[in-house]
């Protein structure tokens, strides 16, 4: 039970200059690392550079998409418990317009028809491949660019609309903002499902354009949700260290976030295994081709097993009990582990080269790490900058009281 003297405005007051400093440092570090990786570009080869870029870009994009999903879901189900953690999620989703800008470099290999990144962009490859010729109706450069534009417009609109509606409510105290957000989120979740599925197909599955898996979009989504819950837990722990949300976000909220992370870890494993089981069982060459490089090379076998253990078994056992979920420090350790595993998942998706195997066989490059730091810096700068000015929870949300007095029965 919360004591009646809880001062919400003090709990949620903006971080001020501290946030500006953190965002500035992250921005500087990010720009330096991105600059360094661009300088390395000619050395490692530009196709390697862009695959590293795609790997880390997809990683941070998936975290923001997970946040967008979380915010809209809370509105649709009219959740009370999550109000005090929703603003931080809104700020993470608010990076989507910036991520739309960061997507633009990925159009270079597409428009330049480099087969080492997306083989279907190269007309000479397509010419000699009847299967790619048949898929060219969908997998062609102009349509790809149009689709991506649609995805980013939809995501940016949904993220900005949710964030601005919530911020406006801080001043107006008008319940109609909540009602509008609920209606928009219902439509938004449908759009979200479609756009995320097609984005996963376009950006990640088409790296190997012969291969197809109908559960691919769900796999990407499940990993995104795991990554986002881990990120949200870590951000909340950091904010509490900075003296914010110390009572507004209690062990009850961490407990629930831990439950959600646990649930989506199991969901991710369920989806990943569903995809694997059918392909393994049918044993058709055009389907097994995706797993072949991941199960024949020693390095990738090790990565696969690490994913199985690290992305499923370890968090399953670590988060099963109530005990660690109610202790922010233990939960934060599990969250950091999950964020690392989610990166490994994206690495496992993007890096192996079944196509044009001879071009480069090294499984990891310096640009992978540099761009992780680089894009990560820009991503966190975009999250922390608004914290300088804005309240860290929706302080006039009609369900805030319910969230503050929330208890797990």
């Amino acid at each position: 039970m919360q004591s009646p003297t809880l001062d919400i405005d003090a709990e949620a007051r903006p971080l001020g200059a501290a946030a500006t400093r953190v965002a500035g440092a992250a921005l500087l570090l990010g720009l330096l690392a991105v600059g360094g990786s661009v300088a390395l570009g000619p050395r490692v080869g530009w196709s390697v550079f862009f695959r590293s870029y795609l790997l880390n870009y997809s990683y941070f994009l998936s975290l923001a998409l997970g946040a967008l999903f979380f915010v809209m879901l809370q509105h649709v189900v009219r959740a009370g418990w999550s109000v005090s953690v929703r603003r931080v999620a809104e700020l993470v989703a608010g990076t989507l317009p910036w991520l739309a800008v960061l997507f633009l470099p990925l159009l270079v290999p597409v428009l330049k028809h480099w087969p080492d990144v997306y083989p279907w962009t190269d007309p000479t490859v397509v010419q000699h491949d009847p299967r790619l010729e048949a898929k060219a109706v969908y997998l062609n450069v102009p349509f790809f660019v149009i689709r991506c534009a649609v995805y980013f417009i939809v995501w940016s609109w949904l993220a900005l609309a949710s964030l601005r509606e919530s911020l406006r409510q801080d001043d107006t105290e008008d319940v109609r903002h909540t009602q509008r957000a609920e209606r928009r989120s219902a439509v938004g979740l449908v759009l979200f499902g479609l756009t995320v599925t097609f984005f996963a197909i376009d950006a990640l599955m088409s790296l190997h354009p012969h291969w197809y898996s109908t559960i691919w979009g769900v796999y990407f989504f499940a990993g995104s949700a795991v990554g986002f819950y881990a990120l949200l837990i870590l951000l909340l722990v950091v904010l509490r260290r900075a003296g914010r949300l110390t009572r507004a976000v209690s062990s009850e909220h961490f407990h629930d976030l831990g439950k959600l992370a646990f649930g989506f870890v199991v969901f991710w494993a369920y989806v990943a295994f569903s995809q694997y089981l059918l392909i393994w069982y049918a044993n058709l060459p055009e389907e097994t081709v995706w797993y072949r490089p991941r199960q024949s090379d020693r390095w990738w076998v090790a990565v696969s097993l690490l994913l199985l253990v690290g992305h499923f078994v370890v968090p399953l056992l670590a988060l099963m009990s109530r005990y660690p979920k109610r202790r922010p420090r233990m939960l934060a350790a599990a969250a950091a582990w999950l964020l690392a595993m989610h990166w490994l998942d994206m690495y496992y998706i993007v890096k192996p080269r079944p196509w044009l195997e001879a071009v480069n066989s090294a499984p990891i490059h310096a640009t992978d790490a540099l761009l992780l730091v680089g894009l990560g810096g820009l991503f966190f700068a975009a999250i922390f900058r608004p914290m300088a000015r804005w309240s860290l929870l929706p302080r006039r949300d009609p369900r805030l009281v319910e969230s503050l007095s929330y208890e797990n029965v």
Partner: protein, 422 residues
């Protein structure tokens, strides 16, 4: 506040079981519960129309141990699922001959996967884990709550009916060490209860309600029907076709041999391999083993991969009994059951099957015998499609042994066993 007299442990011949206090709001109940807890009572409970926040802490209820029951149930399901599939499909019946046949597994190769392959087992393991965890949850919850119960002393208090709508109750049992009818009643009325009631020991007999017994008996009787029907079907014989409620296995939607299939450009349902290709294992370029031929003509010896020993002869005898003896006879004299039946029916144009002991047959090289089994000769049909090459060679070896047995001299028998012939 209608406090009645509670002082006597027995009134109207009924024993006092508990005191029941009624409250009008959940807040009042929580406050009262905190004071009852602080007063040191241990045998007491609260009853509400809906879950009340904070009541667990107010009553000092320790966390349930149910999760442990669930973990144990889930682990059992996981292990049982794994063991079951190992036993049913991977534990070869050969290794477990001591187990009764109807309990043995099958050792089937399915889709070319190993008989014990984890990916295929995981769905079943998962389902059993969830099933046993869920059953453990329900059964464990019921057991920990001492359920099911048919009756409770509280049902004898008319006021208590409102517990499912809008009233909140707190009860202190009479067997609590701190219980004293008079003082506990005063204590409860001091907590802001709107009413206090005397709960008398249940008069309900320890017998099961008659309606429940009848229902269970009827259900148990009905449950016997399916096993009885199954047992009857197993024990009785019938010339009628068996009943299949679901006909999917009898009438499968598929193409049969030689049917047309519009899905393919050449219109055939039976697919032929692309030109110039062979299925794995069908190369068969070993002429000696697959055709009985060597460079000089018919092979005079067995191919190197066939070892002529007692096991091969036993296998040959088995196959000969199945495929050859119906015409050629168990002894190979050309007097099998088919021949005898043909003579009985006076079949026109019937030619007696060749005796394997006539000089021509005896002089055939083993390669020729193998070729005869594979492709047939004169009116004998080919058996190459029915009998794998290894078994055909076994039959050849057995035919050679048969021929030897019909034309042996005393010197061919080992000296120590000649006495058996006298």
């Amino acid at each position: 506040m209608d406090v009645v007299a509670y002082t006597s442990a027995v009134a109207n011949g009924r024993r006092l079981a508990a005191l029941l206090a009624e409250f009008s709001s959940p807040g009042a109940l929580v406050t009262a519960a905190e004071q009852v807890r602080d007063a040191g009572y241990t045998h007491w409970d609260t009853h509400t129309p809906f879950p009340v926040h904070g009541i667990d802490a107010a009553m000092d209820i320790r966390r349930t141990r149910l999760p442990w029951v669930v973990v144990i149930g889930g682990t059992l399901g996981c292990v049982a699922g794994l063991l079951m599939q190992w036993w049913m499909n991977a534990a070869s019946p050969e290794q477990f001959r001591w187990v009764p046949t109807f309990l043995q597994g099958y050792d089937f190769v399915i889709s070319g996967k190993p008989t014990f392959s984890l990916p295929a087992n995981i769905p079943v393991i998962f389902e059993l884990t969830v099933l046993l965890a869920a059953l453990a949850t329900v059964i464990g919850m019921l057991a920990m709550n001492n359920l099911p119960r048919y009756h409770d002393a509280l049902f004898g208090v008319p006021r208590f009916r409102r517990v499912t709508t809008d009233r909140f109750f707190l009860r202190i049992d009479a067997h609590d060490p701190r219980f004293d009818p008079q003082r506990t009643a005063e204590f409860l009325s001091g907590l802001g209860a709107v009413a206090i009631e005397r709960v008398e020991a249940a008069q309900s007999p320890a017998r099961w309600p008659a309606a429940l017994v009848v229902t269970l008996v009827v259900l148990a009787g009905l449950a016997l029907f399916p096993p009885l029907v199954a047992a009857k079907a197993r024990l009785s014989k019938s010339p009628k076709p068996r009943i299949a409620l679901i006909q999917d296995m009898d009438n499968q939607e598929r193409y049969k041999a030689q049917q047309a299939n519009p899905a393919f450009r050449d219109g055939r349902a039976m697919r032929v391999p692309p030109a110039g290709t062979l299925a794995r294992g069908e190369l068969r370029d070993d002429r000696h083993y697959y055709r009985g031929q060597v460079a000089e003509g018919w092979a005079l010896t067995f191919p190197p991969q066939v070892r002529v020993d007692a096991a091969l002869l036993a296998r040959g005898q088995e196959c000969f009994g199945i495929y050859c003896a119906p015409c050629h006879g168990l002894g190979g004299a050309g007097d099998g059951l088919v021949h005898q039946r043909a003579l009985q029916r006076d079949t026109p144009g019937w030619v007696q099957p060749t005796s394997l002991h006539d000089p021509v047959a005896r002089s055939r090289p083993v390669g020729h015998l193998f070729n005869t089994i594979t492709n047939g000769i004169r009116s004998m049909p080919p058996y190459g499609d029915q009998i794998p090459p290894a078994d055909r060679w076994a039959i050849v070896a057995y035919v050679r042994a048969l021929q030897l047995s019909q034309d042996a001299r005393l010197e061919d028998v080992p000296p120590e066993r000649r006495a058996e012939l006298r």
